[in-house]
Amino acid sequence: MAEVLVLAEHADGEVKKVTVELITLARRFGEPAVVWAGPGAEAGQARCAEFGAARVYVASDAALDDIVVTPVTELLAQLVREKSPALVLIAGTGQGKEIAGRLAVKIDSGVLTDAVDLVPGDDGPVAEQSVFGGATVVHSRVRRGTPIVAVRPNAISPEPSSGDAELVAVELDSSPSGARILERVVAERGERPDLTEASIVVSGGRGTGGAEGFGLIEQLADALGAAVGASRAVTDAGWYPHQFQVGQTGKTVSPQLYMAIGISGAIQHRAGMQTSKTIVAVNKDPEAPIFELADYGVVGDLFKVVPQLQEEIGKRKQLLFRTSRRPD
């Protein structure tokens, strides 16, 4: 069976959720083989095995960590030459797409980005992409070389399956040059999940009225164990940091639950969230376009609705706590 290469996203030996999504997806097309660039493969091995990875190619050359994009691309190109995989899967993050693009040039193969699904077809894998702000669904395929597909986080549901995840050391053939990373700064986000990986996202918009009102969004997010998002109006006004902007010019999210609080739902915003599985909206304007997308909407004052919602969540949690403490 042909191999499918999956480039792992990881931090401190922890495999990111998008990577187990890609390993799950890879099983549709062949034997999943994870490509692990940098340290931590031993720590991540079990998780790769749990989702069916047959092996993990490990390259720990220092350049992979210190130099932007080029060494990882070189590693993938080398593995494509040596292993002739059926397909290369990469997380559709900002950097993931760049790696996909460079790899495509390097091995002269077609690349598809922002895939939300990938299925086998008569002439190779067919990717589903949503374009024009999510209004149009396009099916595309690669017709030259080894297909390279960058898949959006949260698009595929991870399903466990057992694999050996045998660690195989790989030496980088060349010593790539490029832009050197001097310093890494991780933005403060406390204990909240990563915005693009979270299964619940609570976003606030202009309706929150300011940085102070936006605090309500953070509280609700914490009650639900959710990530916090913001509309462009909010980040433009400086009420919340820019990296949390959801929309065409910000992050694209497709969580299980998206809560839009005080967000009107301009096309700019919808482009970043309309593939969410369930959408709940709270807005005082009954004409707000966000209600066209909402599975459940409340027309009302968010400063009344959200605190009440939070109180209800608190009550239910307490109830759950009591029942679990006193089994019959």
Binding site: A11, V68, V69, G94, K97, E98, G101, R102, A104, V105, K106, D108, G110, V111, T113, G121, V131, G134, V137, V138, H139, S140, R143, R144, G145, G178, A179, R180, I181, L182, E183, R184, V185, V186, A187, R189, D194, T196, I200, L224, H242, L257, V280, V282, F291, L293, D295, Y296, G297, V298, V299, G300, K304, V305, Q308, Q310, E311, E312, I313, R316
Partner: protein, 230 residues
């Protein structure tokens, strides 16, 4: 896209103008690949203050995918020469986000993309590169290809003087032959990907919208509970 510079490219142009202003020996050239009507957006870029423009325009380019487009643009760039290429980070139509990376690979230049701040110091370039969890401070030597994220700057509006001056600025139109582009590697024939089909996304099923009668929060909680979110 209707002769408008897409919004992200304005950030790239603005950044180019700022870098040129800080480095008096330099010159800003607008490179655009597109149909006849791309001339309008080129004029707008020139009226913002760019010095000259190259318009790659040939019917043979129609249907080029990202890989073919990067090849065509790289051929032009090799011919006109550069110290720094600045791309918008994603075109608003197809959201590929790969062009800077592809160009860097083809040109053998350093890639310092997803830039939220750029600083040029002689032949060194330092960039604050946006990462998924914050940012990386990176450094490289020119020549380089960069892409900028929105928010890197506030693009200027063309002044009346700028609009008048733009009319006299040189715009060089290039065909495939002029740029030394192999016609078999671009257009629909040269594309490494193809669209199988496309359709409007089916509208989402209409949801339940209620008016808050003092119990809006409780109702949302009820809905979240039925969907097992709480």
């Amino acid at each position: 896209m209707d002769g408008l510079i897409n919004e992200l490219d304005e950030y790239a142009i603005e950044e180019g103008l700022r870098i040129a202003e800080a480095n008096p020996e330099s010159e800003v050239t607008i490179l655009s690949m597109g149909p006849e009507k791309a001339a309008e957006s080129i004029r707008k870029a020139l009226s913002m203050g760019a010095d000259k423009a190259v318009h790659l325009h040939d019917d043979g380019l129609v249907g080029s995918d990202a890989l073919a487009t990067s090849y065509a643009l790289a051929q032009v760039l090799k011919q006109i020469g550069f110290d720094l290429v600045i791309c918008g980070s994603e075109s608003t139509d197809a959201r590929m986000g790969v062009m800077a990376a592809m160009l860097a690979e083809r040109l053998g230049a350093v890639q310092v993309s997803l830039a939220a701040a750029v600083e040029i110091d002689g032949s060194a370039i330092r960039v604050r590169r946006v990462s998924d969890d914050g940012y990386h401070q990176v450094e490289a030597s020119l020549p380089a290809v960069i892409s900028v994220v929105e928010k890197i700057n506030e693009p200027r509006y063309p002044s009346f003087k700028g609009i008048m001056a733009a009319k006299k600025k040189p715009v060089q139109t290039m065909s495939l032959a002029d740029a030394g582009i192999d016609p078999s590697l671009v257009g629909i024939g040269g594309a490494a990907t193809e669209v199988v089909d496309f359709a409007q996304r089916p509208p989402r099923q209409a949801g339940t919208i209620v008016k808050d009668e003092g119990d809006g929060g409780a109702k949302v909680a009820e809905f979240l509970a039925t969907r097992k979110f709480i």
